[in-house]
């Protein structure tokens, strides 16, 4: 019963989240669909603006080297705050609430009175979070492919590169989920893991943007998890395997910490 994961617990948690997951997947698919549409509709007109120097150079750096190609449009859409917000909803939101939220509500009591070890509980939530990350990324990818097909521009993007981007994104989300879940397993109240998750998100995003706009702050970028998700490079076939390794390492370290910390904690009666 107390194996690596608990299937009844996985089913219970999935059932509670599946409608929300479906809504987020639909939103990401729509968002992914829009990028090729925007490129096919406005891309060539916008590209002509580049020649006029009307767009400041720092913004061009932020957008990437080739913002008005299909690859550029997809890459831009992939790391747009709306897309990032949708992608991290479960890794950070559910990750924070999975243990500390149940603990705060008191509902963890009856779960842990069952023959489930705390490590199993932690692993089950992590597996679900990674599974949801895979679904959301695939939804965004499906939307992008559908949009490209609808507007006949599939030849301008490499399917293999899209899959690498999917793996890269799933690894980023897995790292965020593992960090937030480890925080969730370390506190009795929801506020702390939510704070850590949001701080990680906002600070990481700001550091990455800051380093892009201001070369003097570029040294800060490696401290941001978003630095290791570079869609433009990946879609251009120049992805760095080191990015994947860093994200996998962060996920592994956070998971190891959570699995070590959670079983050692005293869980006093909820107040």
């Amino acid at each position: 019963m107390s194996g690596v994961i608990s299937l009844p617990l996985l089913r219970r948690t999935w059932r509670a989240q599946r409608v929300r997951v479906a809504l987020v997947c639909a939103a990401l698919a729509t968002w992914g669909f829009l990028m090729p549409v925007i490129y096919a509709t406005f891309g060539r007109q916008l590209a002509s603006l580049l020649d006029t120097d009307i767009i400041p150079k720092p913004f061009l750096r932020l957008l990437g080297a080739d913002p008005f190609s299909l690859v550029g449009a997809v890459a831009l859409g992939w790391v747009h705050p709306i897309a990032i917000g949708l992608f991290v909803l479960f890794p950070i939101g559910l990750g924070a609430a999975a243990i500390a939220g149940e603990r705060q509500r008191g509902t963890l009591e009856v779960i842990l009175s069952r023959p489930i070890s705390r490590r199993t509980l932690f692993s089950t939530h992590l597996v679900l979070l990674v599974g949801i990350a895979v679904l959301t990324v695939l939804a965004a990818l499906a939307g992008t492919v559908a949009g490209s097909m609808a507007y006949g521009v599939t030849s301008e993007i490499d399917a293999g590169a899209l899959m690498v981007l999917a793996v890269n994104t799933v690894l980023l989300l897995a790292a965020l989920a593992a960090v937030t879940l480890a925080a969730s397993a370390s506190f009795d109240r929801l506020a702390a893991p939510v704070g850590i998750g949001i701080a990680l998100l906002l600070l990481g995003y700001v550091l990455e943007i800051l380093g892009t706009l201001w070369p003097d702050a570029a040294f800060l970028q490696p401290f941001s998890p978003f630095h290791y998700l570079r869609p433009l490079k990946v879609l251009g076939g120049n992805g760095d395997p080191a990015d994947l390794a860093v994200l996998a390492a962060v996920a592994a370290i956070a998971t190891a910490y959570g699995l070590w910390r959670f079983p050692r904690r005293d869980l006093a009666a909820p107040t």
């Binding site: 009591e109 023959p115 070890s117």
Partner: protein
């Protein structure tokens, strides 16, 4: 468990608790709020880690074999919180699945506690406090655990449902299961438990059969008589004798046999011996402990180090 202790820094939530619970009994763990009842239960189920001592449940070590213990037990947490978004039935099904054992006793317990199918299909958010508590009892017992650990189980139940719950407990005992029952409601412990442990400020102050504790307590006796007052001097257990005209009042500890023999020759017109209630024994124990502590504090303040 032997010498089980739980400290939070300087706070000693539980100190040197040694007790055993026999298979097939209903064991009451009694004490006021904050005495350490829930702490002990949480140690037994692996929510807390002991600071000192060791314990075993169903022959399994509470630290090493926590999952195996929970596989064979059922637990009702004090002030249970349930997932409001689910129906009662969904919650029970989920928890049965997590237990890995079929809910063989669910129907019988639900019937006793008047949890109909219609009620169970409603969302838990619509349940009253008492209904939630009933659902908590069902989830703890539905899979017929070898050991049921119930923390303040009758909290929130109306008197009729309390009676129904006691009948459920009788059924559990009849099936040879063991119940560890924490409460601060003395009357229910007295009613359903075979043995009782009394805890105060984290320390065990009594561990006895309920009947023995009752027998040990002082009962108030009122006697009316004609003619000369009976002579109770030297009668075993009789103390605080006060005679006022044709009325005698005293306290009586232990067996009333010697007392009854002493008054046999008197013209007794009325006799009232109050029933021995656990509540009084409990209050006497607490009063005794408090007196001991006060004496210790006084001795310490005097610098004598003497103990009463």
């Amino acid at each position: 468990m032997e010498g089980l202790a739980k400290h939070y820094g300087r706070v000693h939530a539980l100190e040197d608790v040694t007790l055993d619970v026999r298979q097939g009994e209903i064991f009451g763990f009694l004490g006021p709020n904050g005495a350490g009842k829930s702490t002990l239960i949480r140690l037994l189920l692996g929510y807390l880690h002991p600071t000192a001592g060791r314990g075993s449940v169903l022959g399994l070590d509470i630290v090493r074999d926590s999952v195996a213990i929970r596989r064979r037990s059922g637990y009702l947490p004090g002030g249970i919180a349930l997932d409001d978004g689910l129906s009662g039935l969904r919650l029970l099904d989920d928890l049965a699945a997590l237990s890995g054992r079929p809910p063989v006793r669910r129907a019988a317990i639900c019937e006793k506690l008047e949890l109909t199918d219609r009620v169970l299909r409603r969302p838990i958010r619509d349940y009253s406090r008492g209904m939630r508590q009933k659902l908590g009892i069902v989830q703890a017992l539905q899979h017929d655990p070898e050991l049921a650990i119930l923390d303040e189980p009758s909290e929130g139940l109306d008197p009729l449902m309390q009676r129904a719950f006691y009948e459920v407990l009788e059924g559990v005992r009849a099936a040879g299961r063991t119940v560890f029952f924490s409460s601060h409601v003395l009357s229910e412990v007295e009613r359903v438990c075979d043995r009782v442990a009394i805890v105060r400020a984290g320390r065990l102050v009594a561990l006895e059969d309920v009947a023995v504790i009752r027998a040990q307590r002082r009962r108030r006796v009122e006697l009316r008589f004609d003619g000369p007052a009976p002579d109770l001097a030297g009668v075993e257990g009789a103390e605080d004798v006060r005679i006022d005209g044709g009325s005698l009042v005293c306290t009586l500890a232990g067996s009333p046999r010697a007392f009854l023999a002493a008054i046999a020759g008197s013209a007794v017109t009325d006799l009232v011996i109050e029933p021995a209630r656990l509540e009084d024994a409990f209050l006497e124990l607490y009063a005794g402990e408090e007196a001991d502590e006060a004496a210790e504090a006084t001795a310490a303040a005097d610098g004598t180090g003497a103990r009463s």
